[in-house]
């Protein structure tokens, strides 16, 4: 497409053309109306003047006869800038007046005529337009009075010229303006297209330039940038997941395979095979569990779970999850205390919040050792409480805690601290809790419980107003 063709196709240019046409039509209409009105006014003035003169002259004729009329007309005709006069006898012979020649037949009709004429003192060929009235006097005489129309013509010409020029000006300026504006917009749109093309080609780090004018193109660009930000984040997450899957699922898969090979090589009895197969099933169950957790995290992070959000009392979840884990804690010699008087209204995915909290409680039970603590210390406290516009679901233990510098890291997928390697687990519990908190426009906080860890899922409190978009 040529540059001009592209320019003509733009919306801006088409709009410019439409506006231009509308304005030009408007200008033509305005000027036409003005010209028509002026002409009407002038014509009206002329007819009034001529009528008055005819009334005056016919009065003179009535009082003093043809002689007096001739004298008066002669006197008036000689004045500079005078009207046109002609008095004729019934034979058609001119008696007095300042009209040299007339278009033929004008004198034969009484009433108003527009005609060409020449004054007596002018040479041949210098003919003008005039508006005349022929009046029949008693006694066969005819009186013609008229006014030159030059003034009217001149005005008409001025108006027409002004019209022509102004329309030409409007068209030229409009086209130039439209061209200029369109090119400006087009240049920015072209730049945006160019950037998006490089981004589509794979450079996800690219961003659209923002002119800083705050206009609609800027708003569009910043929205697109926000979208790109999100896409980049998702792509990054996807890459991380793939990397982690590659790393952390391949390890148990390798182990699985090795075990099968070892069984084929070394097993002697049926019992050996049975043991190997059972170990294989156990290992694959672990793999399935890890895989499910990964899928759930991915789902929470992609925001899909936002569809089935309902309003519920988080205190109830705390009580339920606490009750689910209480026997387990008890068996380990830990006291699991629940403090959730409620209500703690939250809008979200009940199942996911339950699972996130269950992960925290599970961790607390896993990492707290009753023997290391003396009496009162072997307690895990699960609470739900309001704090401003947030609902805090907290699990506080007196276990080893997490060192300050490690707190950011443990939320990442598959990160397990050295001291926890011996415990079973996928290393995904905190990642899931964090992903669930983010899904609900909240956060996962890891705090010092002095000693121990206080893990808090902070969620927005559901009120009469809807959950704000994160």
């Amino acid at each position: 497409m040529t540059a001009l063709g592209k320019l003509i196709r733009t919306t801006t240019f088409k709009l410019t053309l439409v506006y231009l046409t509308v304005f030009a039509l408007f200008a033509v209409f305005l000027l036409g109306y003005f010209a028509w009105n002026t002409q009407r006014l002038i014509t009206q003035q002329i007819t009034e003047t001529v009528d008055a003169e005819i009334t005056g002259l016919s009065e003179q004729y009535r009082q003093g006869g043809i002689r007096r009329l001739v004298i008066v007309v002669e006197a008036r005709a000689r004045r500079p800038g005078s009207s046109l006069y002609l008095v004729t006898a019934f034979t058609g012979e001119a008696l007095v007046g300042n009209v040299g020649s007339l278009a033929p037949g004008v004198l034969d009709r009484t009433g108003w005529t527009e005609t060409l004429y020449r004054r007596q003192d002018e040479s041949e060929g210098a003919e003008h337009q005039a508006l005349v009235r022929v009046f029949q006097l008693p006694g066969g005489f005819r009186l013609l009075v008229g006014r030159d129309l030059e003034e009217r013509e001149r005005l008409q010409k001025i108006v027409l010229d002004a019209g022509r020029w102004s329309i030409a000006l409007v068209v030229v300026l409009g086209l130039a303006g439209g061209f200029f504006v369109t090119r400006r917009v087009l240049r920015r749109v072209d730049a945006m297209t160019e950037t998006t093309r490089t981004i589509m080609a794979g450079d996800l780090g690219g961003r659209l330039a923002i002119a800083g004018t705050g206009d609609e193109l800027d708003r569009l660009a910043s929205n697109l940038n926000a979208m790109l930000e999100r896409i980049e984040g998702l792509m990054h997450g996807l890459k991380q997941v793939t990397d982690n899957i590659a790393h952390d699922l391949k390890t148990p898969l390798t182990r699985l395979r090795n075990r099968c090979e070892a069984a084929l090589r070394n097993a002697r009895s049926e019992a050996d095979y049975r043991a190997a197969l059972e170990a294989t099933i156990e290992e694959s169950d672990g793999l399935i569990r890890t895989f499910n957790a990964l899928l759930m995290i991915a789902r929470a992070e992609s925001g899909q779970a936002r569809e089935d959000m309902t309003e519920f009392d988080a205190a109830e979840i705390v009580r339920d999850v606490g009750e689910l884990y209480e026997p387990l804690a008890d068996e380990k010699g830990l006291a699991l205390k629940i403090d959730a008087p409620g209500p703690a209204p939250v809008k979200g995915n009940r199942e996911l919040v339950s699972q996130a909290l269950a992960n925290l409680v599970d961790n607390a039970i896993k990492y707290t050792r009753p023997e290391a603590a003396n009496g009162a210390n072997a307690e895990i406290l699960v609470t739900a409480q309001g704090e401003g516009d947030r609902i805090l679901l907290a699990v506080a233990d007196h276990g080893p805690g997490i060192a300050h510098e490690d707190r950011g890291r443990v939320i990442e997928r598959f990160v397990r601290l050295e001291q926890s390697r011996s415990e079973p687990g996928s290393g995904l519990g905190l990642s899931l809790a964090s992903a669930v908190a983010h899904l609900h426009a909240g956060e996962l906080r890891l705090e010092d419980n002095g000693p121990g860890l206080r893990a808090v899922i902070a969620l927005p409190r559901a009120g009469p107003q809807a959950l704000p978009a994160p």
């Binding site: 759930m296 779970a305 026997p327 199942e351």
Partner: protein, 226 residues
């Protein structure tokens, strides 16, 4: 029990059919939605096992069509989609149970048996009795050998579910789903601890235990004498 397995993966379907025959059930197979629907429509099966993604007609629409023609054969949906909302969609479409792939055969078997007995089951009864253990669903009382046993509300529901399916294997996941209404994996086996608590309340001090652990599958409540 007559089963119909509607699953387009021949290997998986053959494996299932073989495994069901080994435990004494009759299992027919269909490999796409249309064939499955045609077979299921005559209603002579006890339970349908329906894969969710099938050629020609997907599992949910198959079940919908069955229910529309008043065939109420219980259907268990098998699906690779294991999220809660997928589950909800499956159950809303007329499925009676939902199991995410991959699954243990023991889990599937336990669920199928529960489904097959559901129609003639004990859903309407108000008093469950296993041996000398009694559970009154109306007054929420439990007693064994005429001695009243005090249970926590959740323990009561746990026992109620087990007794409702007395003589059948009940898996940990089934308990988690039906007693706690959770559909996630709680990592540590919390259910075992709840069961051992319940066991200490109903079986302790009696020579004949009623609550049994079924190795590799789950739990079962039954009168050992029978």
């Amino acid at each position: 029990m007559r089963l119909l397995i509607i699953e387009d993966d021949h290997d998986a379907a053959d494996y299932l059919a073989k495994a069901f025959r080994e435990v004494g059930h009759v299992a027919d197979q269909a490999f796409d939605g249309e064939e499955g629907l045609a077979l299921a429509l005559d209603g002579r099966y006890d339970v349908l096992i329906v894969d969710r993604m099938l050629p020609k007609r997907d599992g949910l629409s198959l079940i919908g069509a069955l229910r529309a023609s008043s065939v109420e054969t219980p259907a268990l949906i098998l699906s690779a989609l294991g999220q809660v909302d997928d589950r909800v969609k499956g159950l809303r479409a007329g499925g009676d149970d939902y199991l995410a792939k991959p699954y243990a055969f023991s889990e599937l078997l336990a669920r199928i048996e529960v489904l097959s007995r559901r129609r003639g089951g004990r859903g309407q009864e108000t008093l469950y009795r296993v041996g000398d253990l009694e559970l009154d669903r109306l007054s929420h009382r439990v007693s064994r050998a005429e001695t009243e046993i005090a249970l926590q509300p959740r323990e009561f529901r746990l026992l109620e579910y087990l007794m409702k399916h007395a003589g059948q294997v009940v898996t940990r996941t089934m308990l988690l789903e039906n007693v706690w209404d959770y559909h996630f994996d709680p990592q540590t086996n919390v259910i075992d601890v709840h069961i051992s608590r319940l066991r200490s309340k109903i079986d302790k001090g009696f020579s004949r235990p009623l609550l049994h652990t079924v190795r590799g599958a789950g739990y079962m409540i039954r009168d050992g004498a029978r």
